[in-house]
Symmetry: C2
Subunit: 141 residues, 2 copies
DNA sequence: AGTAGGAATTAGAATAATTCCAAATCACCC
DNA sequence: GGGTGATTTGGAATTATTCTAATTCCTACT
């Protein structure tokens, strides 16, 4: 079995595990997100995907992204009013937005950090999502 | 001195303290934000302002909001892709976004909470802003 | 294998928050 | 009172995203 079809099988399994049809479009969108640990926008994903699938449409990229986010295979990151970014890192983590370069960095969190954060909520508030974003300058090295 | 001109003087002082000209438009935009402890959008602010100043334009509301946010008299709150909201609460606090009603609630934080949050950043990352957002269901009572 | 029915994809139009622009008005100084 | 830069204004432009309606693709069933 080639490395190609190996990868294909892995992606396919991930999609099927989420009960969504493993279409070629969904597969390639998921692939380009997973193969780099950055935080691309829909446009950037569209550009990367077109390399291997030139006929795909931007609407389909948006459709696939929505599906992948909903089923939890990809995380969505919204910072200020900028275009939505997509994150392959499924561990609980925070984001640091470098205000000089515009890059978004993952910030690892100690074990049960998010759960501990939840404890500051007053009674009656039940959070399904916790989002922690930093913004500032990162050392350039 | 009437309560009216009293309020006027207070708003005026706040603006002057920030080194910005206390124009009637800036004053009324700041007033409607401060007089309710909610998180209105620019549209909502525009609607409220028009009650006392029917000739103001939406562009001016956006201009004023930008000025007020930049000089720190008002906080800007971005949640997901929804329209930007504006917050009169200058204390450090988190936000809870009620996914049923759409309302945004302030969440008070223990004293130096934000500073402690900053300590989880790896060396070389210097955050000027920390943003903590919850999303979920709030008890309806 | 052939086909019906639903899901997914597609191109392009529509939407909507925000920003941009250029002209009019305003405030303050001389 | 005129000059000057700041502010306001209405409308056009921008742009990420969503919507629409038509086409294509799968899959299940006979
Ligand atoms: Mn983009
Ligand atoms: Mn609005
Ligand atoms: Zn991330
Ligand atoms: Zn607030």
């Amino acid at each position: 079995m080639s490395a190609q079809s190996d990868k294909h099988a892995v992606l396919c399994e991930k999609l099927k595990a989420c009960d969504i049809r493993p279409t070629p479009q969904r597969e390639v969108v998921l692939k380009v997100i997973l193969e780099k640990r950055d935080h691309p926008t829909a446009d950037e994903i569209f550009a990367r995907v077109k390399a291997s699938m030139p006929t795909i449409s931007l609407a389909t990229v948006y459709n696939c992204l929505e599906t992948l986010v909903t089923c939890g295979l990809v995380r969505q990151v919204n910072l200020e009013r900028a275009p939505t970014r997509y994150c392959p890192n499924l561990q609980e983590h925070a984001h640091f937005h470098d205000e000089v370069t515009g890059k978004v960095h993952d910030v690892e969190l100690p074990g049960d950090f998010m759960d501990r954060l939840r404890t500051i909520l007053p009674a009656g508030f039940d959070a399904s999502t916790v989002e922690l974003n930093f913004r500032g300058k990162a050392a350039t090295n």
